[in-house]
Structure formats: structure tokens, C-alpha cells
């Protein structure tokens, strides 16, 4: 086994099935001093699947790829991969991303400027395979050799590669060691986009080879298209659950809260990430409370997919993406609403707000708006009675990549916090230069084997460091502190990070969405909207 810093491209084709390298705690970027002692305890669960599945990259495993049993099978897989890469570079199969991809393939100069912007590479102690250019270099060589059919000159220009199944299996795993946050793309002097390469590789694996993490495909987009939500909630269950939330919030706030369903011609169709309803009900509850108090004519939809804004296809599969986006638009068209407002979910914002924009034709291109701008308007309009002193605790803001760097919604959430949270302080860096929470691109819901260890120790490490640093003046004062993360996936990741590193018990740092903070500041409701109860 090699040290993570010494792994080279050619090592990926090694036939031995044990991992090429181990991420060990000693190599990870140290956490801030104030925090290190507290989180030293947790052990990385050993990878027990390594004999049954392809786990030849590092000491975690996201895909659980079965090992081919014969040489013939292996050869077919290699051929299938090559055909997939060929299709990736055709207009028929990949018009949606072809131009950015070709530019990235042909013009990376290998200067490594992007490496320092990658939180995963940095946190891992600079494990070479996590370098943003590493997986791109592999695809680039495959592109010039198999797609452009380059000869000797091309080999001198772009290098050579011998593809075999172990390399492809490792590359498949490697496509799931990137959060697709595109911070690397932001720093590229040429404008190449290595995160796009991870995205496109995932597409080859899913669209050509039928390989994708179970959480994203089988139990994600497929389940959503089948029963209406990736959570498995049917229309009946979601209505029961919302009814429960309405009662719960009414009881808690002393204000009668009622969620309107399927109101035709409503001004606003509010679509939450359905995970909010199950795991963070105070968020949809706060939305109902706020929208009712502001007199907005809004509705939720109990139509299949109309109550779950998620679109996991964004991360791995264009066809699944288009199917879900189309159904979201159809639900809104059928109800005849004026606009769709997307709840606190980053990837749903980017999916329906940005990427789907050019897919929705004619009357399906119904205006889509962020809940953050709507909430900002409500908060600043003065129509709610708000008392910022009810939020008299330190608050920091996490910027979800999809909302901020990839969509440019930066200021509304700050306008809200500046109005209602006197203890608001920024993380460093923030806004469009933020760091991903480490749960991006589906990781927040991926838990196979010991993937959670990897998420909490590697991909989430930088965010944890930022959070700890944002509260460095009050880390151990025993008073509660709040990380505002207006995105379901980010919340899930931050929750898991905090459980893993025992952050609530040791440092009293809690987390939640932005609607909850607004609810907590409303003077018409009983004080204490935010439960400082852990988890």
C-alpha cells in the first residue's frame, strides 16, 4: 500500500484488489486546537466489504460494485466504458454539457492552481487521487486516445493510458470523492472545470453502465418517480405528516397554523425537500407560519412529485434529471399557480431554477423563485412583527454551493439575518467563495459501509473547521450557538458532522434553517420556536 501522496495514475490499473491507499487520521489536516481534543476519540470503521466488492481505491466504498467473475465479463465492462465515453462526446447523447466538457478536456494545462481550492484534497492531507485534476487526467487521456483516436503526436501531447477493469472500477469510486461544488473551477485561470468531469464520469457510469449509488438511483430518483418522493412518502402520508406538523406548530406557537393543499391558481406553489417534512418538521412548520402571517396566497401540492423538490439526477444522470424536472413543472402547470417557490434545498434550487430552465418549453416554463428572496421580502416589508432580541445568540451562516456559487443567491439570506439575528457573524471564506459542507452531490444521504467516516473526517472537515473558527470567541462558554444552513442536504451533513464529532455536547453548537430563525423572532408567537434539543 502506498502513502496517499505517492499514488500515481498508473497505480490505478493495479490488479491487486486491496485499496491503493488508506486515509489515516494522522495524515488529515489538523482541526483547530480548541477542537482537536474533543474529536480525537472516534475510530474509522474498517472496510468489511473489500472482499466481495470493488473497493480498490481507498479505505471507503460508495458504490459496492460487484467484482466481475470472468475475464470475458471484465472485458465487456471495459468495452462498455469506452463506448460510454465515446457517447459522452456526441451531440446526440450529451448536447447539454458537451461544450463545457470539450473545453475542459482540451485546455487544462495541468498547472494545479485548482488543487488548493479543493476542501477534500486539502483535508485529506493532499491525497493525490483526490486532487481535482487526477480524475480529469484519466478521462482526458481516454478522450484523446479513444474518442479523438490520437496517434503518436497525441500521445506526446496528452499522455497514454491503458484501460483495464481495476482502473475503471477505481475511477467509478473516484467520481464519488468530489462534492461537485465547483470551487476548483472558480480558481482555474483557463476556465476548465474539473468538477464537471466528475459529474460527466458519473453519467457514463449511470447512463451507459447502470452504475450509481443506491441512495441516488434505486432508492432516490427511481423511488421518487414511482411513489412520488425519494423518502417513500405517498400523497396520503405526506398530507398526514403535514397535518401533524400543523397541529404541532399550532400548539407550540399558540397561532393556528393551517397548510393549504392543491389550491388552484394560487400565487405560490411551495415545494419543500420532502426530507424536511420527515426529519426537520419545524422548517415546513415555520414556512406555514410565516406565509400565513404575511398573507401570501400559497399552496402545497399532493400530486406525485409535487411535494418533493429533490432531483438527484442533477448529480449523476441527465435522463432522470429531465424526468423529474418535467414532472415538477407539470404539477405547477396543472394547478395553474403563478410561480413555484423552492424551499430550503440547494440542489433543488439549482435543478429547477437553473439547469431545468432551458429544458422547459412554452407554458411549462413557469417562473421559479427562491424561498430566500420571498422570505427576505417578507422580513424587510415589516408585515411580520419581529423581535431580533429573541435570537440573541451567536449565529453563523453556511452558504450552500448550489444556491450561492452556482446560482448567485448571496445577499437575501444575509439581509434576513442582519435584520433578525444580532449575533450574526460570517464564516471565512463565505459567499461565492464558500466551502462545501462536505455533503454535496448526494454524499449527505450516502452511508454505505464506512462512507460516513469518510464524510465526517474528510469531506466535512473543512466546514467543521470553519464553523469552529466562526465561534472561536465563544466556543466553550456553554451558551448555545446556531449554524444557519438554508439547505436540507447541508443540514443533514452538518447534523452528521456534529453527531460524529460530538459538537453539541462539547461546544453547544446547534444548526437549522433560516425559516426557523424567523419563526423564533416573531413576537406574535410564544417564545422559543427553536428547540435547543439536540438532533
Amino acid at each position: 500500500m502506498k502513502s496517499p501522496q505517492d499514488v500515481r495514475l498508473r497505480d490505478l490499473s493495479q490488479r491487486e484488489s486491496e485499496p491503493l491507499f488508506d486515509i489515516t487520521r494522522a495524515q488529515l489536516r489538523p482541526l483547530p486546537d480548541a477542537f482537536t481534543a474533543a474529536s480525537a476519540g472516534r475510530e474509522w470503521k474498517p472496510l468489511s466489504e473489500s472482499t466481495a466488492c470493488e473497493c480498490g481505491l481507498d479505505n471507503t466504498c460508495a458504490l459496492n460494485l460487484p467484482k466481475p467473475s470472468t475475464w470475458q465479463e471484465e472485458d465487456e465492462l471495459v468495452q462498455r466504458f469506452i463506448q460510454g465515453v465515446e457517447k459522452l462526446f456526441t451531440s446526440e447523447n450529451n448536447w447539454g454539457f458537451l461544450q463545457p466538457l470539450v473545453l475542459t478536456m482540451e485546455h487544462c494545462t495541468g498547472c494545479q492552481t485548482c488543487s488548493d481550492s479543493c476542501h477534500i484534497f486539502e483535508a485529506s492531507g493532499r491525497a493525490e487521487p483526490y486532487r481535482p485534476t487526477f480524475r480529469s487526467e484519466i478521462l482526458r487521456r481516454v478522450y484523446f486516445k479513444h474518442v479523438k483516436k490520437g496517434g503518436l503526436v497525441s500521445r506526446l501531447q496528452h499522455g497514454d493510458i491503458e484501460l483495464n477493469w481495476p482502473m475503471i472500477a477505481r475511477l467509478a469510486e473516484l467520481a464519488y470523492r468530489c462534492n461537485l461544488c465547483r470551487r476548483c473551477a472558480q480558481s482555474c485561470p483557463i476556465g476548465a472545470d474539473n468538477a464537471l468531469v466528475a459529474h460527466e464520469l458519473r453519467k457514463v457510469f449511470s447512463q451507459e453502465m447502470g452504475i450509481a449509488p443506491k441512495e441516488l438511483h434505486e432508492r432516490g430518483s427511481m423511488l421518487q418517480l414511482k411513489v412520488g418522493s425519494s423518502t417513500g412518502m405517498s400523497p396520503r402520508v405526506v398530507r398526514e405528516n403535514i397535518e401533524f406538523i400543523d397541529e404541532d406548530i399550532s400548539e407550540k406557537t399558540g397561532v393556528e397554523v393551517h397548510t393549504p393543499w392543491d389550491v388552484e391558481g394560487a400565487d405560490v406553489l411551495l415545494v419543500h425537500n420532502a426530507g424536511e417534512i420527515l426529519a426537520w418538521p419545524e422548517n415546513p412548520g415555520a414556512f406555514a407560519l410565516i406565509l400565513n402571517a404575511a398573507g401570501i396566497k400559497w399552496t402545497m401540492s399532493s400530486e406525485l412529485l409535487g411535494y418533493d423538490s429533490i432531483n438527484y439526477g442533477l448529480w449523476y444522470d441527465d435522463a432522470q434529471f429531465a424526468r423529474v424536472a418535467l414532472r415538477h413543472a407539470e404539477v405547477a402547470r396543472k394547478l395553474g399557480v403563478k410561480r413555484i417557490v423552492i424551499g430550503e434545498c440547494g440542489h433543488a434550487h439549482k435543478a429547477l431554477g437553473v439547469i431545468a430552465d432551458r429544458l422547459l418549453m412554452g407554458d411549462l416554463n413557469i417562473p421559479r423563485e427562491s424561498s430566500l428572496t420571498l422570505l427576505r421580502d417578507i422580513v424587510l416589508s415589516g408585515c411580520l412583527k419581529l423581535d431580533p432580541s429573541r435570537n440573541d445568540f451567536p449565529v453563523t451562516l453556511h452558504d450552500p454551493c448550489n444556491l450561492v456559487r452556482l446560482m448567485g443567491i448571496v445577499q437575501p439570506q444575509r439581509d434576513i439575518l442582519n435584520r433578525i439575528a444580532p449575533g450574526f457573524r460570517e464564516m471565512t471564506p463565505h459567499g461565492v467563495n464558500n466551502y462545501c459542507c462536505g455533503g454535496g452531490s448526494g454524499f449527505a444521504i450516502m452511508t454505505p459501509n464506512n462512507f460516513e467516516d469518510w464524510r465526517a473526517q474528510v469531506s466535512g472537515r473543512k466546514k467543521l473547521e470553519q464553523i469552529v473558527n466562526a465561534f472561536s470567541d465563544c466556543l466553550d462558554d456553554g451558551n448555545p450557538k446556531f449554524v444557519c444552513a438554508p439547505c436540507s442536504n447541508c443540514k443533514g451533513q452538518i447534523r452528521d458532522l456534529f453527531v460524529y464529532h460530538d459538537v453539541w455536547k462539547k461546544n453547544r453548537i446547534f444548526y437549522g434553517g433560516i425559516a426557523e430563525l424567523i419563526g423564533n423572532a416573531m413576537t406574535d408567537v410564544k417564545p422559543g420556536f427553536i428547540d435547543w434539543e439536540w438532533h
Binding site: W95, Q99, S117
Partner: protein, 293 residues
């Protein structure tokens, strides 16, 4: 000898220009893609550019006119093109090498242009020689970085070394050629080149330098050195492309063409048989039995 030199220059120019046109055409004719922008987008409204915001920050943004802030975009472009600002911010160790290398080229081009006009000949010569020195210095500095950096192992190819070494060598040779006895002025040389006056005497060093430069120039568009073309597309057509879909727009027409394309992806859940279009595939449900079969 001079005839050969002139022919080489014409051939090189033809090769370079046609290569550049092919490159531009290659990228410009790729299908209109989905939005994939990255903020900050510098042509956004002034009050939003500072924090990298977009029009999505406005409520009911679709009812409001687009405000295109051209001056903002031009400023960012100028900073990027002439000062290499993103490298300055993100990779200072590379910046001085890259800046010297590329700014040297700008200087040489500026000196050539000035020489053609015949104005301020001493300034033109000074700028040109200075530019050549910067190219050679920057090229060697870049080469050294690639050769010694532990980060470069898998990402530097033989051609990268050859490109940099060749450019440094050419700059040095031309520099020496300019100092050779009887070296013609740029203006004289250009006049002879355009009028086909092959009687012009060109010192050997200069001939060698110009010949090598011509060879390299002809090759540039066929290598990743054509990134000066790519950079237009990566920034204007990808990172900063925030055009929204308007009904009846040409963008909508392009997207209709795209949605009619017929994919052949193999995985079962797509149901792509080469006959169904993307639009049709998007309206199927992979969990219903007919798609899975």
C-alpha cells in the same frame, strides 16, 4: 534563403489562421448547452457584482428587465487578459512566471505593430527586446516549475517540455538575431515580405529564429496552446452564460433541436433505443413496466 524564409512565414500564417478558424468553429458549432454558470458573473448589475449575486436575488425576477453591465465585464476581462488576476489571487508562485511569459508575447506583438507604423523606432525596439527577454525568462521559469514540482508528475507531458523549451529558444534566437550585424529593421523586413523582395539580406541567426517561430506558430492552434481561443468560450459561453429562456427566442429554438436528438445510452432505465428523442425519454417513467422491459 530569403525566399524560403518568406514562404515559411506565409505558410505558417496560413496554417495558424486556418487552425484558429477551425478551433473557433469546432467550439462555436457545438450544441447550445444547459446553464452551467459560476458566480460572480461580472456583467450582473453593479450592486450585485461585488458580492457575486445574480438576478435570482430579485423577487419576481422574470418580470424585471435584464441589466447587462458591460463595463463590469470589460474590466474583469482586461484584468484577466493583461494582469492574469485569477492566477495572482490563486497561485502566486505560478503568476510571475506566467505573467512574464505571456506579457512578453503581448510586448512583442505591440512592438511589431509599432514598428510597422515606423513611429518611435527606439521605443518599439526596446519593447520588443524586452518582450523577447520576458518570454524566454518566463518560459524557462515555467519549464523549471514543471520539471521540479512534485505536483507535475502525471500532469506534464513530453510536449509540454518541448513547447516551453522551444518558445524560450526561439525568443533567445530572435533576440540574438536582432543584434546581428546587418539585421534589417522590422519595417524593412515587412516591406520585403509583402512586396516579395527576396534580395533582402537576413542574418542567419535571425533567419533561424524567424523560421523556428514560423514553425511553432503553425502548430499552436493544434495544441493546447490554443487556450487563448478556449478561454473566450469557457468564460463567455460557460461561466458567464446566464441567459434565461425566453419564449420564442433563438435559444428556445436551439433547445427544441436538442430535445429532438436521439440518444443511444445503453443503461436499461433510460429506455434509449436510438429512436426515442430526449423529449420522449423525459416524458417516460422508468418505473413503469414498458420502459424497463
Amino acid at each position: 534563403m530569403t525566399l524560403l524564409l518568406f514562404l515559411a512565414i506565409y505558410a505558417s500564417a496560413a496554417c495558424f489562421l486556418s487552425g484558429c478558424i477551425l478551433r473557433v468553429r469546432q467550439y462555436a458549432t457545438l450544441p447550445a448547452h444547459l446553464r452551467w454558470e459560476l458566480y460572480p458573473v461580472p456583467h450582473e448589475a453593479r450592486e450585485r457584482v461585488a458580492h457575486g449575486g445574480s438576478y435570482f436575488e430579485e423577487s419576481e425576477w422574470w418580470t424585471k428587465p435584464r441589466r447587462f453591465h458591460l463595463a463590469g465585464e470589460l474590466r474583469v476581462m482586461a484584468e484577466e487578459i493583461f494582469l492574469f488576476k485569477s492566477l495572482w489571487q490563486n497561485n502566486r508562485n505560478l503568476w510571475w512566471r506566467s505573467f512574464s511569459f505571456h506579457f512578453g508575447m503581448y510586448s512583442v506583438l505591440a512592438a511589431l505593430a509599432l514598428s510597422f507604423t515606423g513611429l518611435l523606432p527606439m521605443v518599439a525596439r526596446g519593447v520588443g527586446l524586452c518582450g523577447l527577454t520576458m518570454i524566454a525568462f518566463g518560459g524557462l521559469a515555467l519549464l523549471l516549475r514543471r520539471a521540479t514540482s512534485s505536483e507535475s508528475h502525471d500532469y506534464t507531458h513530453i510536449a509540454d517540455y518541448i513547447h516551453l523549451a522551444a518558445i524560450a529558444a526561439i525568443s533567445a534566437t530572435v533576440f540574438m538575431g536582432c543584434h546581428a550585424a546587418n539585421a534589417p529593421s522590422v519595417r524593412t523586413f515587412a516591406h520585403a515580405l509583402f512586396t516579395g523582395n527576396t534580395k533582402l539580406v537576413v542574418p542567419r541567426t535571425l533567419s533561424a529564429g524567424v523560421l523556428m517561430a514560423a514553425a511553432l506558430l503553425a502548430y499552436v492552434p493544434y495544441s493546447h496552446m490554443a487556450h487563448f481561443i478556449a478561454k473566450y468560450f469557457t468564460f463567455h459561453e460557460v461561466r458567464w452564460d446566464d441567459a434565461r429562456m425566453e419564449p420564442g427566442s433563438s435559444l428556445e429554438a436551439k433547445m427544441r433541436t436538442n430535445l429532438a436528438r436521439k440518444p443511444t445510452w445503453y443503461a436499461l432505465h433510460l429506455g434509449a433505443d436510438g429512436k426515442k428523442s430526449w423529449a420522449e425519454i423525459a416524458s417516460t417513467n422508468p418505473t413503469s413496466p414498458e420502459v424497463r422491459s
